[in-house]
Every structure is written in C-alpha cells, then in structure tokens.
C-alpha cells in the first residue's frame, strides 16, 4: 500500500471514532433498573403507623347519636364507610361491588394554617366491580387529603367523598343515600335504602378486637340496604337491583402482635336473614378468641355469635397472580343456631390490586339451617395473606 493510502486510512479512522455515538449507549445502560415488586402493607402502614398517644381510644361502649356518628371522628385515627353489595339485572346478569372510603388522621390535634392544603386528615378510597358473567374483577384506589373539597366526610347533610366517589343523602337512624363511583370505563350509580334497622356490633357497638384495652372499635352496620341503579361497563349500561351492606367502624387500634389478618363474611340470605362473622387469624394459624359475629333474623333483633360456636373450614385454596394463597371455598357452621353454609366466590380472582393487597369479593352462599335450605349472596374480605 502506498503511503498516501495509509495516510488516508489514518484520517478516516480518526474522524470515524467520535461518530460512534457512545453517549446514547451509556444512557441506555443506565436505564436498566431492576424493578422491585410491591410489598403488601396494611392500611395504617400505607398511611403511616402512629405512636401519637393523644388520639382518643375505644375503651368502653358509647351512646351513638345519629346523624352525628355517620360523620367523621377525627380524634380517632382510623375510620371507614364500607359498602358492598350484590346486584342483578332483570335478565339475571350478576354484579358485585365494593366502595370503601377510609379516613386516617396523621395527628390528633387540629391544625390551623393559611394554606388550604395543610391537613392531617387523609382519605383513601377503594372501588371494585365484579362482572360475574365475564368473570372479571376491576379494582381502583385513590388517595386524597381532606382539603379544598377534594375529599371529606360530614354528617349534615350526610356526605362522604373522595373526589368523584361519593355517598350522600338522608342519614339518621335510617339511611337513604345515593352512591356513585366511576373510573376509567366503569361507572356505578345506586340508591340505597335500609329495609332493616341498624345493627350495633359487639357490645352495643363496642367491638373488642384484641386482648389489650383500646384495641377495639366502634362498629355498626346496615345489614340490608335495598339497592337499585345502574352499572356501566364501557358503553354498556345495566339497570340493576339487589342488596347492599354497610359497615361503619372507627378506632385508634391496630392488629395485635400475634394477629396476622382477618377473614370477614357478610352474607345476605334470600329468606331475609343476615350473617356477619369476622375471624381474626393468629400467627399460629388458629382463629383468635376475639373473633366475633352476628346473626340477624328476619325480625331484625340481632343475635351475637361467639367464636366458640363458629367453625370455619377451608375447602379449597387458590394462588393469586401476585403469588398469594387465599382460601377460596369455606364451610361455615354455627352450632347453637344450627347453621351450616358453604361459601363460594363467584369469581376466584377478586384480589384488590391496591397499595396493600387483599382479597375482597362477591360470594354465593348455599346451605341449611335446621334442615331448612338456605340460599344467598354476600361479600368476603381476607387480609394478611
């Protein structure tokens, strides 16, 4: 090769070097990050555990006053308005729904500030719709500060809302409210009216959840709310009717150290009775003695269910996409009343893919009481799996 060619090649080499664009390459390499999976958390750890001793504690039964007690209790750390229900169109297409509004106080004392954003009151909302025919479960979550009208709760007139998810209407001893929630292509609009009186859970609404004083909540329920309205999925609109259940609870307590979670059953039978039972699970897998429930016969006078009379047997389990193993079929027996029920979810995957994972879904109930056949529908919640 002639020297001229060497020279030419040398120049070519020099000028082609920087043309190799190494900068985007380096950037691309930097962007490869290993994504961490979300850890399951409890409500209070999502919003922060507290050691604030100045919160009020649930220590003894109280005298409930309505409508005031439908409104918020900011001196307590946690509070929720819990609506679940089973709905059906005239043609028999079934839906399940859940709308829960959680209030959480970050501190006990009231804040004053010239910024309207400043608050220690946080609202979390969960909304889920189960399309039983399509075997689909949709769940959504939202958070907001209770400020600027973005979210809040009030007794007069009764209204609890987090942005567009809202329950409002006439609320005293009786309840006649509208519930509306929509997100993405889903929408739910319902009118709820209680057909049975309010039930005070536990001891006159004082519900002990742990062995220690203060590990308790104030708890009442509307076990049967006649519900009618519309469900919209994408552009399809369904006129629906059915029954809803409302749970109201507030407290400053948390689960005790040896408690890992709970299974909660709220069942509405076609013959007009309701059964609520929550089983607190211990680390050793056994039910906690604080597990408790209520049986509401047709006439509305509730009967307390104690843990030594209730046996829940898991008949089947299911592994969720998030790799958790949930019970998926139960046999619930109550010895003193002679109740024997088999509970099966309409859809297996009703896991709430929210900041903390739990399973909450519509279930079908079949069984008997004293040889009389029982049929019904309900909702089950399982946490701590």
């Amino acid at each position: 090769m002639s020297p001229g060619k060497y020279f030419f090649l040398f120049i070519l080499f020099i000028f082609s070097c920087p043309a190799i664009d190494w900068i985007p390459l380096a950037e691309a390499l930097d962007k490869i990050v290993i994504s961490e999976s979300k850890k399951p958390l409890s409500v209070s750890s999502v919003l922060g555990e507290t050691t604030d001793e100045s919160f009020e504690k649930v220590l003894k039964p109280r005298h409930f006053k309505f409508p005031e007690d439908h409104g918020p209790h900011p001196a307590f750390q946690n509070e929720w308005w819990y609506f679940t229900g089973n709905l059906m169109t005239d043609s028999g297409r079934k839906f399940g729904y859940q709308l829960t509004l959680f209030r959480n106080s970050l501190s006990a004392k009231t804040l004053r500030s010239s910024s309207s954003w400043k608050t220690n009151q946080i609202m979390m909302g969960h909304f889920a719709l189960t399309d039983i025919q399509q075997q689909k479960h949709h769940s959504f979550e939202r958070f907001s500060r209770i400020a600027l009208g973005l979210a809040g709760a009030q007794a007069r007139p009764f209204r609890v809302w987090i942005e567009g998810w809202e329950v409002q209407g006439a609320a005293g001893e009786n309840l006649a409210v509208t519930l509306s929630a929509s997100q993405d292509e889903l929408s739910l609009q319902l009118s709820l009216v209680n057909t049975k009186p309010l039930v005070l859970q536990g001891n006159q609404g004082f519900s002990q959840k742990g062995s220690q004083a203060g590990n308790a909540s104030y708890y009442y329920s509307y076990t049967r709310l006649a519900s009618s309205g519309t469900v919209q999925i994408d552009s399809e609109r369904f006129e629906v009717q059915g029954w809803s259940w409302m749970d109201r609870e507030w407290s400053t307590s948390a689960l005790e150290k040896n408690q890992v979670g709970w299974d909660w059953f709220a069942l509405q039978l076609e013959t007009g009775q309701e059964l609520m039972y929550y089983q607190l699970r211990q680390k050793d897998g056994k039910p906690s003695p604080q597990s408790s429930g209520v049986w509401v016969p047709q006439n509305g006078t509730p009967v307390k269910l104690s843990d030594d009379k209730v046996v829940i047997e898991v008949l089947n389990t299911w592994r969720s996409p998030s790799n958790k193993v949930y019970p998926i079929k139960w046999r619930l027996q109550e010895k003193s009343l002679g109740i024997d029920l088999v509970i099966t979810p309409y859809v297996r995957n009703q896991e709430m893919t929210t900041s903390f994972l739990y399973w909450e879904g519509a279930v079908k109930v079949q069984g008997q009481q004293m040889k009389k056949s029982l049929q019904g529908r309900g909702y089950v919640e399982m946490t701590g799996y």
Partner: protein
C-alpha cells in the same frame, strides 16, 4: 530514503526547536479549547433547561398555566371533581439558595403526594416505606432530595440545613429521599428539592395559588371532548400548553442569548484557525532549507508532502486532545457565569451536567486536526512543488509572494465588498449575517500585506528621525519578509480586532443602558409586590393601600402599572397598563413617534411599543396591533417606539383608562412615587415601610438609585461571560503572537550573524530585534482598530439587533484602545527577548552557518 529516516529528521528538528514546537502545540490546543468550551457551555445550558422542564413536569403531556404565572388553587379541585381526570398534579414552584453556596439555585417543588402517581416518578409513592407521610405533610420544613444532592451537601437524614429565600433564612430538615429510576432524572434532581404543597405555599408565600397544574391527557388531540371540558373550567387567561411546546418556546427564549454566544465562539474559531495556520506555516517555512536539501538528496515530492502532513496530523491530534481536555475544564468555569445570566434573564436553571456531545467533539477535532492539516497545505504544496535549488533560496520566496500580494489585495477588497453586500441583504437571516462577518474578516486579512506596506512606507521617515539605520532596517525587514510577518500580523490583527469589538460592544451597550436608566428612572421610589416566583408578576396591591400611599406627606404624585400577558396576532404580548403624572412622560425615550403622540395616546385607545418588540415583529409607527380583550379582538394604532433595555421580549404600553375599559381590570401591581421634594425621601421611605408591613405579602421598595444599581448589576452579570471570552481571546492572541514572533526572530540568525560580522554591536542587535517586534505589534494593533470597529458595528447592528432587538450607538473607549496596544506590544516585545539574548550570545561565525 525510508520513512524512518525522514521521521527521525523531523523529530530531531523538533527537538532542536523546543520553543517552537511547544508554542505550536499550545496554539492549537488553545484555539480548540476556547471553541470547545463555548460550545459545551452553550449546549449544557440549553440541555439543562430542556431536562429541567421534563423533570419538573414529569410525564405530564400538558400543563395548565395562568396568564400571570399563577392559577387559583380551586381550579385543581374543579378539575378533579368535575372532569374526573385522575392524572392531574398541582405544583407550587420557587427557588432558594443554599446558605453555604449562594451561587447555586435550588428549585423548590411543592407537590401533592396523593396526586403524583404517574406524573413525577421520583416523588415517593404512598405505601413506600421510605416516605414518612406524617412528617412530610405535617412538619413544615420537611424536604426530600435525591441521595446524590444530599451527599453533595453532606446532608444526613433528619438533619437541618439553612437556605435563603426573600432575604430570609429558612431551615429545612431532610425527611427522605427522592427515587430516581432514570439516569437523566437523577442528574436533574441534583438541584431539586421536594416539599409538600401546603408547606411550599407557606414558604414561597403563594397561599391560594398554584404555579401550574400538570396533566396526562388521554389524547393530544385538541378536539377530544376532554379538552373542551377542561377549557371550560379554566379561569380567564389560563391556557393548556403541550409540554413539548413549552420546551420549544423556552428554547426560543434563550436562542438569542445562545446566538450571541455562538457569534463569539465563531470569532474565536476564526482567530483560532488563523493561529493554527500561522503556527503551521512557520514550522514549514522555517524548514525550507532542510526540506530543500532533502529534495536535493532524492526525497520525492510525495514523500516530502506525506512527511509534513503526517507531522501536522500528529501535532494537530496532540494539540486537539489537549485542547479538548482544556476546553472541557474551561467550560466548567464558564457554565457558572452563563447559568447566572440565564437565571437573571430567563428562568431558574441550575446547570448540573456538563454535556459533551459528539457534535462538540467533532467540531473540536475538525478545527484542531483538519484545520491544522489545511493550514499546512499551502506551504507543503509550495515546498514540494518547487525545484530543490529554488526552495533553498529565501529571496525566491519573497519575490514570488510580492506578485501574490497585489492579487490578495484585490481579492481582499472584493471579499469586503461582498461582505457588506451580504450584510445589507441579510435581512433577518442570522446565517447570512454570520457569512458576511466571516467574509469581512477574510477580506481584511487578505488586504493586510498591502496595508502593511503602506504603513511601513509612512512610518519610515518617522523612525529615521530617532533610530537611524537600525530602526529603519528593522522596519523595512518586516516588508522584506512579508510572506511570514504578514501571517503573524494577520493573526494579531484579528485577535485584537475581536478583543476591541467585543469590549467595545459591551461598553457601548452599558453606556446606553446607563443613559437610558438615568432618563427613564424619574420617580423617586418604585414599589412592586415581591415576585413570589420567577413565573409570577406578583400580587395585586389593594386600593385602600394605594390611597394610603397617596396620603403620605411629601408624596407629590404616584404612577401605577399592571403587567398582563395578552394573546395577540404576534403570540402572547406583555401589555403594560400604565398611569403616570405628566412629568413621567419624560421617562420615555422615543426611537420614533407620530406627531402629538402623547395627546393621541391619552385621547384614543392606542399603544406605544418597545424597540425589541418592534424589531421582533417588524412593526413601525403607524402600524396597528391587534390584541385579544374580554370585549373581543381590538386593534390599537401604534403611536411610537420607545427604547427599552429591560426586557428582550418587549412590551406594548397602553393608557390606563383605555386598558380598564377594554379589560375590565383595575388591578395594580406596582407604583412609582414622585416626591414634592428630595428632603422628604427619608420620611416617605419609613412611612412606606410601615405601610408595607400591613400587607399580607412582601413588597419591594426601591429607591431610584438602588433600582439603577440593581439593573446595572444584572447587566454586568449578563455580560460576565462575554468578558471571560474577551480575556480568553486576549490570552490566545498573546500566546499566538509570542510563538510567531519568536520563531520569526530566531529565523533571522544568519542575517544577524552577517550584520554582527560587518560591525553591529550586541546592543544594536537587541535594539533591532525589539524594535522590529514592537513595530509589528503596533502595526497589527493599529490595523485592528478600524477592523475591530467595523466588527463591533456588525455585532451591534446586525447580530445583536437581530438576536436581542436592542440597538445602541457604538463608542470605542480610549482605555480599550490602550489595552489592545499594550497586549499587542507586550506580546511582541516579550517574544523578542529570548531570540535577542540568544543571538547576542552566539558568535557571528557560528550564526552565519545555516545549520548551527
């Protein structure tokens, strides 16, 4: 002959001329370094901005922005509740300074962590155990930063550090870290601190307000129903912008600034190329005898050309590498100056990363390596094409170049003529303006040899008076070796011309601003609601408060102003709704106006526009400006153009009553206070301060003098970078001259030997060499005066006017001329010392031997 032998001869030559070699090397390195540094600085500033927009806006596709930079916070509730749009995040934005690093700006982002999902990925999500929500929301001084930032400030979790804002010190407590999943964000987060929105509102005194709302809209299509729903909620004047447009428009804003910087970089590039050319020409020309001998003993033309070119390539590569490294380091220093300017003029930006792009690298390499090779081509061609015996003879070269000189002169004049035609025809094209500038510089260097002959011819009788033979000989020698001295003087002339033009431009501009300030600042006090952030124009002064100001004893008159951004056919226009007492009229300096402009201004709805605005939109007196008002589109006649150096975008000024009629807005944001007598100044000021304390927001009270000083401070900071470049150019010129002249003098060894042999004393030798250097310095510098002035004229009337919209008369201060001469002559004299010392210590016999 083998290449190895040839290479050895080159190497030996370099080792025998270490000065020459080192200076060539430095010349190339410096030229490359300056160009690369300017380029890096420019690009880093631009890129930082684009990145910071992206970091601040996160993944948002759109931004809702108020006309005056703020939005009512209720708008956010409306959007959330009425449209159901989930991906909307409010933001309160401001900036603070660290107590220990006062030059560094930190952005405060006030976020609502409940709205941040999917918008700003680095804000920790709820449920992230990293974030103690209770502390973040409830402790008003809680702040989150990136780990890198905390590390750089040695800030540990839970500890507090002090920051300054509005002349107050605030202590922030590090409550957690930002997540930074992406490399780019990580870098940008180095100047970002996140707070809860409530705490940020309190800190930045923006309660009730948001800086903007970031949205992720389901579609970019403006016909999407969502878009209309959103639009119907917006308060008057608020707009939805595409985030990508915002990056664009901000880039436009700083374009003018970067164009100016680029113009300077181009000048440096030309000077740098000339220096490299100068250096390479010398290294070849000096070796003509050696090269001639090589040819004589059988080295072919191609071999010789290859040898020199490879040498140039090596030298170029080495110098360029050093230059790239040097430029990169230099850029770090310059970036600080530039970001200060950008902060003053445009927006808060903290340039964190020095961006070294492939383009910059290529530019540096191209200049350094290719420039070196191209500069070597003419002498190489000459050396390799000539017959060996001719190459050996010096006189032959000079005879030949004499013929070229006239040709060059004609060519040079042609170039300059073409340059002026280009500049005249360039209209608004910056590329053509640059082309004109380049042509002019080329033309002037081509003319230099002829100009030098004329100057020498004129100087000769003068020199004869005080220095007799030695002086005249030294002077005539410049012409005798014009093929070499010419190149050196061209480089000197260009360098000094650049130095003069840049310095003169800044000086003239400053003079104009000083003059403008003294005529436009007529009131005794100026009072404005403190800007709560860069974007905001401040709060509205309540009526009762304004009346109270009027009632202060000693206050003669007050004027008022409201600045509003108004959409128009020319984009968003800054409208000044102004009211002022009659004597306030004098504070406007008119570039042009219609007859009885003031009368018409008060009587009929009409506007005055500022010069940058007129230039930007090519408007003149008598044209009409159509503005969007709540009453619809209204056309206002333009009655005059006023000089204004305070804003680059410019403004339109409208008489207050007319404004109120069309806009139904009687807000006031600023007051100008005229006293009945200066004696009251102190009392009025203390009254004003007392009144100010009764307002909910801070107001700034500036006296005439402090406003003037403040403005000039900003001005000086703006041109700090220009000053740095000017200094760099001076250094480049100085070193370049040093190398060129030293080589030139060392080359006269044989000639000096002959002179010594015929009776010249060492003292006379010293005198001869130093005189010649001085003459060359002086000739270069004096030619630089007219060339530099014309260059300044081009920079001011062509490039600056086009990029900033400001015009001002050019004045060349005497101190600058002195500085230029001192640099030129000092470099020239210093360059002469070593050769003079060396030659006076060499015996004439030895000196006369060519290869001593």
């Amino acid at each position: 002959m083998t290449y190895v032998t040839l290479w050895k001869s080159s190497l030996r030559y370099a080792m025998h001329h270490p000065w020459q070699f080192t200076l060539s090397f430095l010349g190339i390195a410096l030229g490359v370094a300056v160009v690369v540094a300017v380029d890096i600085t420019n690009e880093s500033a631009q890129r930082s901005f684009a990145d910071s927009v992206e970091t601040i806006n996160g993944k948002a596709t759109h931004v809702i922005r108020g006309l005056n930079g703020t939005l009512p916070e209720k708008l956010f509730t409306k959007i959330r509740l009425q449209t159901g749009l989930r991906q909307a995040a409010p933001l309160v934005q401001g900036s603070v300074f660290h107590e220990q690093f006062p030059g560094k700006v930190f952005q405060i982002l006030g976020v609502d962590p409940f709205s941040e999902q999917n918008i700003r990925g680095y804000v920790p999500s709820l449920g992230d155990s990293q974030l103690d929500l209770r502390e973040f929301l409830l402790e008003s001084n809680s702040i989150l930063t990136s780990r890198d930032l905390a590390d750089s400030l040695s800030w540990k979790l839970g500890e507090s550090q002090n920051f300054h804002l509005h002349q107050k010190t605030h202590s922030f407590r590090l409550a957690g870290f930002l997540e930074s999943p992406e490399a780019l964000e990580k870098e940008m987060l180095a100047s970002i601190m996140v707070m809860d929105i409530a705490n940020a509102q309190l800190l930045l005194q923006q309660t009730g307000e948001l800086s903007h709302i970031d949205l992720v809209l389901p579609s970019l299509d403006t016909k999407h129903p969502f878009y209309h729903q959103l639009l119907s909620l917006l308060p008057n004047g608020a707009v939805i912008e595409l985030v990508s447009d915002r990056v664009q428009s901000a880039a436009q804003l700083t374009k003018a600034f970067s164009i100016n910087l680029n113009a300077l970089s181009l000048l440096t590039l030309i000077v740098g190329m000339f220096l490299i050319y100068n250096t390479m020409t010398f290294s070849v020309v000096q070796r003509y005898p050696l090269l001639g001998r090589l040819r004589a003993i059988g080295v072919t033309r191609n071999e010789l050309a290859m040898l020199i070119l490879s040498e140039a390539l090596l030298l170029g590569l080495g110098g360029t590498m050093l230059g790239l490294v040097g430029g990169y380091l230099l850029a770090h220093g310059m970036i600080e100056a530039v970001s200060q300017t950008i902060n003053d003029l445009y927006y808060s930006v903290s340039v964190q990363t020095v961006t070294l792009s492939t383009l910059t690298l290529n530019k540096g390499l191209l200049l350094g390596v290719l420039g070196t090779i191209i500069s070597t081509l003419p002498p190489v061609w000459h050396a390799s094409q000539s017959r060996p015996q001719l190459v050996l003879s010096r006189s032959h070269q000079e005879t030949r170049s004499k013929g070229n000189r006239l040709l060059l002169f004609v060519l040079g004049n042609g170039c300059m003529f073409l340059a002026f035609i280009t500049l005249w025809q360039a209209n608004n094209s910056l590329i053509w303006s640059y082309a004109g500038l380049f042509l002019f510089l080329i033309g002037s260097t081509l003319c230099l040899p002829q100009w030098t002959i004329w100057i020498v011819w004129m100087l000769t009788p003068l020199v004869r008076v005080f220095s007799k033979v030695i002086g005249v000989m030294a002077l005539r020698n410049i012409v005798a070796h014009l093929s070499r001295t010419g190149v050196a003087m061209s480089a000197l002339m260009l360098g000094i011309a650049t130095f003069i033009s840049v310095g003169g431009m800044v000086h003239s501009f400053r003079q104009t601003v000083v003059h403008w300030l003294s005529s436009s600042l007529r009131a005794d006090f100026y009072l404005t609601a403190e800007q709560s952030s860069k974007q905001s124009f401040g709060q509205v002064l309540p009526n009762w408060w304004i009346h109270a100001v009027e009632e202060i004893p000693g206050v003669d008159n007050i004027g008022s102003i409201l600045r509003l951004k108004v959409p128009s056919e020319h984009g968003v226009v800054l409208v000044h709704a102004a009211a002022f007492p009659e004597k306030g009229e004098d504070s406007f300096l008119f570039k042009e106006k219609t007859d009885q402009a003031w009368e018409h201004y008060y009587k009929t709805p009409s506007v005055f526009i500022s010069e940058p605005f007129a230039n930007r939109h090519q408007l003149k007196t008598g044209d009409r400006l159509s503005l969007k008002t709540p009453q619809g589109q209204i056309t206002f006649p333009i009655l005059g153009i006023v000089y204004d150096y305070a804003s680059q975008q410019g403004f339109a000024m409208i008489h207050r009553p007319h404004f109120e009629k069309y806009w139904q807005n009687s807000d006031i944001q600023g007051l100008s206070i005229y006293l009945s007598s200066q004696n009251h100044a102190k009392a009025v000021r203390s009254q004003l301060e007392k009144l100010a304390a009764r307002l909910k927001f801070p107001v700034r009270i500036l006296s005439n003098r402090s406003l003037r000083n403040h403005t000039l401070d900003v001005f000086d900071r703006t041109f700090l970078i220009t000053g740095i470049l000017q200094t760099l150019i001076a250094v480049v010129v100085f070193l370049g001259m040093l190398s060129a002249l030293m080589a030139l003098q060392l080359e006269r060894k044989k000639e000096m030997g002959v002179l010594r042999a015929v009776g010249m004393l060492p003292k006379q030798l010293w005198s001869s060499i130093l005189q010649q250097c001085t003459y060359m310095g002086a000739i270069g510098a004096s030619l630089a005066l007219p060339v530099g002035s014309i260059l300044a004229w081009i920079l001011i009337y062509v490039i600056n006017l086009r990029s900033f919209g400001w015009s001002f008369p050019f004045t060349l201060p005497f101190y600058l001329i002195m500085k230029a001469f001192i640099i030129a002559i000092l470099a020239a004299v210093l360059a002469g010392i070593y050769p003079a010392w060396k030659m006076s210590n060499t015996s004439p016999t030895l000196a006369m031997k060519e290869e001593a």
